[in-house]
Structure formats: structure tokens, C-alpha cells
């Protein structure tokens, strides 16, 4: 689970909605325009037309590798070894054994606390929404579901706009397009039949 700072979506008078996902490991900003999405990611900024965003069946899931926590653990282990080697006080007998156990226990406690903190701060799970321009990364936080729902709603709106007759399509292509739009849920069966009849005439 990612640590996202919740930001209420800013809605402007012209219908523009801006949603930002902020987290320590980096989040994205989504600007929902009327016809397209402006995506400002950690490494990539691009625009995507809603009708070019894929459906939920093509979403992918991923997570960041826990490399920072692993590196921190390796460093702390090295530190422990160096500190033990440079300790010149003799620790023999039961007292020495107790001292060693306390030192090891203290080290493990500190190492676990530090590594857990680093992992908590840097670990992210996210949903990848592929588009023609690149992947839209939605961090799994409090706003994840709202952003995905908004993307899907905007996609359906974009697909509905595609239902309008396109003069560059042959009648056959137009019918195939309408069938695909019906399968995607963008138009109803009744609408499909009506539009098919219009194309046929």
C-alpha cells in the first residue's frame, strides 16, 4: 500500500478536473480535459485521448522493487561487522555472551526499524493503464479507485463520441466500429440497431 497524501480534486468552472497523487516516492498529476487527459508523471508527461485509453481488461499491476530497504540492510550489516571488529574490549564468559546478545538484539531491532521505515516510505504498488503515448501510472492509494473510475467514465464518453458517423469509413467499417462500441458498453443495443439502420440506408 502506498503512502499517498490525499488531495481533493480541484474542479474548475470550465469542467477541468485536476487530481494529484503525492507520495514520498513520487506520484502523478492527472488533468482531465474535455477531450483528453494531461498526464504529468514522475518521468514522463504526455497527453492521451480518452478513446485511446484501453479498457480495464488491459490494465496491468506492478510494484516498485524493495531495493532501498535491501541496500539499507546491507549497509547496516556492514556497519555491525565493522563495529564488532573495532571493539577491543575483551568479552569473555557469561557476561561477554550477554553483552554480545544485547548488541546483536539491539542491532536487529534498529535494522528492522530502519528498513521497515524505508520500505514503508518507498514501496509503491500501482496500476498501469497503457496508452499510445505511454503508461499512465496510478498509485494504489486513497485516490486510486476514484482516478480509475474517472478514467473509465471519460473513456466511455470518448467512445460515445466515436459513435458519430465517420465519413472516412466504408459502411462495412462503420458497422464493425458500432459493433465494437456496443461490445465495449459505449452504446446500448437499441442505439446500435438504430445506428446500423442509418448506416445501411
Amino acid at each position: 500500500m502506498a503512502r499517498c497524501i490525499r488531495m481533493e480534486p480541484a474542479v474548475y468552472s470550465d469542467g477541468l478536473t485536476i487530481v494529484s497523487q503525492r507520495s514520498i516516492a513520487g506520484g502523478a498529476t492527472f488533468r482531465f480535459n474535455e477531450r483528453h487527459l494531461d498526464y504529468f508523471g514522475r518521468e514522463w508527461d504526455f497527453k492521451a485521448k480518452y478513446e485511446e485509453i484501453v479498457g480495464p481488461a488491459h490494465y496491468r499491476r506492478s510494484k516498485t522493487p524493495d531495493r532501498p530497504a535491501t541496500l539499507a540492510l546491507m549497509y547496516l550489516s556492514g556497519l555491525a561487522v565493522v563495529l564488532l571488529l573495532r571493539d577491543h574490549q575483551p568479552h569473555y564468559g557469561p557476561e561477554g555472551w550477554h553483552w554480545f546478545m544485547r548488541a546483536v538484539g539491539g542491532f536487529i531491532a534498529v535494522a528492522v526499524a530502519i528498513c521497515a521505515t524505508i520500505r514503508y516510505a518507498t514501496h509503491q504498488e500501482y496500476t498501469l493503464v497503457p496508452t499510445r503515448s505511454g503508461n499512465i501510472v496510478v498509485v494504489k492509494g486513497k485516490q486510486h479507485d476514484a482516478i480509475i473510475a474517472k478514467l473509465q467514465a471519460c473513456r466511455l464518453d470518448g467512445l460515445r463520441r466515436l459513435a458519430a458517423p465517420n465519413s472516412a469509413n466504408s459502411p462495412g467499417e462503420e458497422l464493425a466500429k458500432l459493433k465494437w462500441l456496443r461490445d465495449e458498453g459505449a452504446i446500448s443495443d437499441a442505439d446500435f440497431q438504430q445506428r446500423c439502420a442509418a448506416v445501411a440506408t
Binding site: S133, S167, N169, G172
Partner: protein, 206 residues
């Protein structure tokens, strides 16, 4: 008259970018720090629309780099100074690391780090976002427009509906007007036999 040959050179920290614009095509190369150089040629009509431009922000390594120096250094210092207090040495190294990270965080905004990326079939064309950026983009767009205008002719060997789509796309791109598109469409479809069209429709329905 052919467009003149124009050369642009950009430098982004340790990367050199070169773009030579010929009348019909452009050459692009990028060379890195280790003498590695790569490049490709592309035709202007292969360039994307301004809508499809992307901005790339390379990963920030200044802070990571600082930590990668300080962490082994602290272990080394502890190992070679066994008589010194470990706590004071570690405290100093933590302070030193914080200072290094702060310097790295400040430095990351100094170089021109962002690129505009234009995806072409041959590869990604990178334009560093510096003073020359707007001039390069404007020049590329004007040459793309000129190249697409040259492509606005009917190809009799191509399938009619594909040709119609080409002119529709050119109309959407703003290369030809809507009236021109309708004229081309009527001209192309006049050659399509109604029987063929009906057969296509029948096939699509089933």
C-alpha cells in the same frame, strides 16, 4: 524551392544532441559520456503531431549518488580509526551525508534536464528543453507540414477507402481544408464500384 540545410547542436549536461535538417529528411544523433553515439535519419512526414509530443525527465541520481559515496566512506572511516568514538564518527557522517544530499537536491535543478520526445518509426527524437528548443520544434513542424502537403495527392494504386482515410487524417491535421477533403473523397469514391461496396458491407455484418 527546397528548404535550406539547418544544423542544431544541443548539450545537456554530459550528452550531446545533433540535428541536421535536410530538404527531405533529417539526421539525428546523440552521444554520451563514454564515446557511445547513436543516431538515425527520418522523413518529416514521419514526425508526430504536436499533441503526441512527450516530455521526459531523466531519473534524479544526485541524492542517490551522494548516499552511495557517504555510506561506504563512513564504514571505511570507522575501520581505519578504531580508537575514535564510533558515535561521534557516525554522527559526523550522518551530518556529512545530509549536507551531501542537500547539495545534490539543489544541484538537480541546475542542469537542463528535461527533453521533449518525438516518437518516430526510426526511434525517439530528443530535443533538450533549452533556448533552442522552440526554434527546433517550430522548424520541424513547418517542415512536417510542407512534407504532408506534398503527400496530399491521390495514389491510384492504393485501396480507395485507405486513400479516403489518408485525406481525412490530413484534414484532421490541418494540412488540407474540410472542403478539400470532401472533394478528394468524392473523387476517390467515384471510382469505387457499388457492387464491391455492397460486398464489403455484407462481409462486415457477419
Amino acid at each position: 524551392m527546397d528548404a535550406p540545410i539547418v544544423r542544431f547542436k544541443q548539450r545537456n549536461v554530459l550528452t550531446k544532441l545533433g540535428l541536421t535538417l535536410h530538404p527531405d529528411y533529417a539526421e539525428f544523433y546523440v552521444s554520451g559520456t563514454r564515446g557511445n553515439s547513436t543516431g538515425f535519419n527520418f522523413r518529416y512526414e514521419m514526425l508526430p503531431n504536436a499533441f503526441d509530443y512527450r516530455t521526459h525527465r531523466p531519473k534524479d541520481l544526485f541524492v542517490t549518488f551522494s548516499l552511495m559515496i557517504v555510506a561506504p566512506l563512513s564504514l571505511f572511516e570507522l575501520a581505519i580509526h578504531p580508537r575514535d568514538s564510533a558515535f561521534s564518527l557516525l554522527g559526523f557522517m550522518v551530518f556529512f551525508g545530509a549536507v551531501m544530499c542537500a547539495i545534490g537536491y539543489g544541484l538537480r535543478r541546475m542542469p537542463k534536464r528535461e527533453y521533449t520526445v518525438l516518437a518516430t518509426p526510426a526511434g525517439r527524437l530528443l530535443i533538450a528543453q533549452d533556448r533552442q528548443h522552440d526554434a527546433i520544434v517550430t522548424e520541424l513542424q513547418s517542415r512536417r507540414t510542407a512534407a504532408l502537403k506534398r503527400a496530399a495527392v491521390i495514389n491510384p494504386l492504393e485501396q480507395p477507402w485507405r486513400e479516403v482515410k489518408k485525406f481525412k487524417w490530413l484534414s484532421d491535421e490541418g494540412i488540407i481544408s474540410e472542403d478539400d477533403y470532401q472533394g478528394y473523397r468524392a473523387l476517390i469514391l467515384a471510382s469505387v464500384e457499388p457492387a464491391t461496396e455492397k460486398a464489403l458491407d455484407h462481409g462486415a455484418l457477419h
